[in-house]
């Protein structure tokens, strides 16, 4: 009989420390294996149900250990859960808000299913906004500890991966499908020429090469900026989360103000970078917000750390 959990054990062995593996993951796998052996005498449904429940539990355990949540206190875990819940709720709210402008221009002939095509262009902007304000509201009346910061930054990395996949592949395809649907309802048939937002990475790269070879530096710069900004925007969640943690205050109102300031600065710098695309390299323009806010976060964190060391040294 095949014993479940071996692959999960190998995965957990790579991402968890030996102590966690022995004390937390292996008991979960051993219990699943025992339960599965007992369920083997029953029907196929019982076996599958046992496997699904067991695998989900072990995955949860492994993820908690990998993100350091298992080492966190109950207060930390509550702060992490609260921050993630706020992030999801605010991201959904920002998606709905960002979908309003295109929804205003469509008429009643468009179905609700059609409007779903607008979601991919809102998601990459809504995720960093949702996470930034999620941190501000989720850390109510507390200074984030190391375990909380590690867990939330791991979530920010996951959010960045989702943003990157959306910006790179889902958004271009959804945008083009949406434009063609709009064109069809207006009686225009055939495929529409793609704009920068509808192009994939390879298509943007090709347009940059074509524009550069024909001597059109402005168009080449514009396409190059569109290419690089997708990478920069995808990592905005990490940069903004880092900025919020660096400037962490216990006061909820000032944290919300810092979140507002960080988001506003990011988008303002994004436009400044786009405007400078012809003057400075397109990559530098696209990464300008990340560079400025990232550097500010590092400076603030370093300054706080040295102040804390100074006050500890000065203590009698």
């Amino acid at each position: 009989m095949m014993i479940p959990g071996r692959a999960l054990h190998r995965i957990a062995a790579r991402i968890c420390c030996p102590k966690t593996l022995e004390r937390v993951v292996e008991p979960a796998i051993a219990d699943l294996q025992k339960e599965y052996t007992e369920a083997a005498a029953g029907g196929a449904t019982k076996r599958v149900w046992t496997l699904v429940r067991g695998y989900l539990a072990i995955l949860e355990v492994t993820v908690m250990c990998a993100f350091g949540v298992s080492a966190a206190t109950d207060d930390d875990r509550r702060a992490i859960v609260r921050t993630i819940a706020w992030t999801f709720a605010l991201t959904a709210m920002f998606v709905a808000f960002l979908m309003l402008p295109p929804m205003i221009i469509v008429d009643e002939s468009f179905s609700n299913v059609f409007l779903v095509g607008l979601v991919p262009q809102a998601v990459p902007l809504a995720i960093p906004l949702g996470l930034t304000f999620g941190i501000a509201f989720g850390m109510t009346r507390r200074t984030p500890t190391g375990a909380v910061m590690r867990a939330i930054l791991a979530c920010a990395v996951l959010a960045s991966l989702v943003s990157f996949a959306t910006l790179g592949w889902v958004m271009p395809a959804a945008n083009q499908a949406w434009r063609e649907s709009v064109a069809r309802t207006r009686g225009i048939s055939g495929s529409l020429a793609k704009g920068a937002a509808e192009m994939t990475f390879s298509e943007l790269d090709r347009e940059v090469a074509i524009a550069a070879s024909s001597g059109d530096a402005m168009t080449a710069g514009s396409y190059a900026w569109s290419f690089h900004v997708r990478f920069a925007l995808a990592t905005a969640s990490i940069v903004l989360a880092g900025f919020l943690f660096a400037t962490a205050t216990r006061n909820a109102a000032s944290r919300a103000l810092v979140a507002l300031f960080a988001c506003f600065s990011y988008w303002a710098l994004l436009y400044v970078g786009q405007g400078l695309a012809g003057t400075i390299p397109a990559a530098a323009g696209a990464w300008l917000p990340n560079i400025v806010l990232g550097a500010a976060a590092l400076l603030i964190a370093a300054s706080r750390s040295s102040r804390l060391r100074g006050s500890l040294t000065a203590a009698p």
Partner: protein, 101 residues
């Protein structure tokens, strides 16, 4: 002096283990839904770090396949912490009774 902390989940685990030693899955089954499969092992690991419970793997049965299961029982310290928290809960239960003037 630091007073040992005992969360609601840790208290429930100590209460369940005070009767008999159990496996993680048994604790989930005996808790009537209060303990979740995904978190009970993490909580047990943390309780071991705090010294509230101790654990060991069962002796492998002849012909058994798979990993050996881990059994848990409370330590003397864990039981003392539980008793102290229960005493504190009893002492603080209900509003104070005021005597008529």
């Amino acid at each position: 002096m630091d007073i040992p902390k005992l969360s609601r989940t840790e208290r429930l685990i100590l209460e369940l283990l005070s009767g008999e030693e159990m496996f993680g899955l048994q604790l989930v089954e005996h808790s009537n839904g209060a303990l979740k499969r995904g978190t009970v092992y993490v909580t047990l690991g943390r309780m071991q770090d705090k010294g509230y419970v101790e654990s060991w793997t069962e002796k492998p049965q002849p012909g058994a396949i798979g990993l050996p299961r881990r059994l848990y029982k409370p330590t003397g310290y864990g039981l003392r912490v539980l008793a102290a928290w229960e005493a504190a809960a009893r002492a603080l239960a209900g509003p104070p009774k005021l005597r008529p003037a």
